[in-house]
Amino acid sequence: MDVFSYFNYWVVVVLMMLGFFIVIARGNLVKKLIGLNIFQTSVFILYISAGKVMGGAAPILADGVELYSNPLPHVLILTAIVVGIATTSVGLALVVRIHAAYGTVEEADILEQDATC
C-alpha cells in the first residue's frame, strides 16, 4: 500500500516532465503551447489528488454523508484552469501574429530570419 500511496504523485511528476519536455525540446510554437498545456494540467492533477479523501464524497452537502473530499483544492484548480486557458489563448494569438509577420512558426526559421536582418 505504501507504494501506491505515492502512485498518483509520481504519475503527476511523469506527466509534468513530459509536458515540460515538449515545451523546451520542440521548435514548433504551437506544439510548445500544447506542451505548456500538459504541464499545467499535471499540476491540476497534483492539487486534486491532494484533496481526495479515501471514502469521501464529492463536496456537495447531503444528508447522511459524513466524509467529504476537500473542496479547497477544487476551488484553487478551477481558478488555475481559467488561468491556463487564458495563457493558451494569448499564446496562440501571438503565434498567429508571428505567423503573419514571419511566415513560419518554427523557432529555428524565426531565429534565422532575425539573424539576417
Partner: protein, 322 residues
Amino acid sequence: MLCLLVATAIALIAVRGLLASIMLTSVYGLLSASFFVTMDAVDVAFTEAAVGAGVSPLLLLLTVAIVGRREAASNARRLVVPLLLVTVTGALLIIGTLDMPSFGSPDAPAQTHVAPRYLQQSGDEIGIPNVVTSVLASYRAYDTLGEVLVIFTAGVAVLLALAPAGQGGSARAEPPAPEHLAPHTILQVVSKLLIPFMLLFAFYVQFHGEYGPGGGFQAGVIFASGIILYGLLYGLPTVCRVIPPPVVEVLAAVGALIYGLTGVLSLLAGKNFLDYSALAADPVTGQHIGIIAIELGVGIAVAAVIITIYYAFAGRLHTRED
C-alpha cells in the same frame, strides 16, 4: 486512468503534425476530466471537460487553420539540454513527494486545518449545499474576482494582438460566405435543433451551481460554445450579425464590473469588500444574493471573452482566405 493519461502524453511527444497533436490534447483533457470525477472533484471535472476538451482544442484548431499543420522535425542535437533539465526537475519533484502525506489520508494537514470549517459551517454561514461554490464565491471570492480579471485580461490581450486596423474590433469587411459551407445541410439542421438546448443548458448550469456542480464559469463556456458552433456552421459574418463584436466586448467589461460592483456595494454598506452579508438584513440571504450576482458577472464575462477570442481568431482566418 492515470496510465492512459501518461500514454496520451507520450503519444503527444511521438506524433508529428499538429492536427493529431490537437486531437490528443482533446483526449488528454477528457481523460483528466474523468480522472477528476473519480477524485470527487465534480466541478473541476466539468470545467476541465469544457475547457481542456472543448475550448482549448478549438482555439488550437483555429490557430492551425491559420498557420498550417506542419511541424518540422526537431533537431536531435537540441535534445540533450532539455533532457537534462527535465531529469533534474523530475528528480527534485520525486524527492519532494517522498515526505508527502500519503494519498487519500483523512489525517493529512490539508484535510484537517482549514478545509473542515468550509465543510462543517458553510451550510450555516452561506446556506447552500455545494461547498465548492461557497468557497469559490464567498470565502475566496477575491480569488474568483482575480480569475474573472485574468480571463478579461486574456480577452484584452488577444484583441490587442489580433485586432485589425478597421474601426473597433473584428473583421467588418464582410467576405461572402465560403462556398463549401453551403452543403452542410445536415449539420445545420441538427445544430439548429441542438443549439437552443445548449443555451438553455447553460442557463441551467448558471443557476444550478449552488446545488450541484456548475456555476458561472462553466455556464459561460457552454453558452459561448453554442454561439461558436453556430459561427462555425453558418459562417462568421452571420454570427457577427446576430451578436455584434462590439456588443460582446462591452459585455466582457460589464461582466467584470458586475462582480466588482457587488463588492463595492458591500463596501458602501460599511462592510468589507465582497462581504455579501451586507447586502440584506439577514446575512445568509445576503450571501445568497451576493453569490447569484457574482456568478452572473462571471458567466457574462466568461461567455463574452470566449466569444470575443473566437471572433478575433476567426476574423484572421477570414482575412487570410481573401
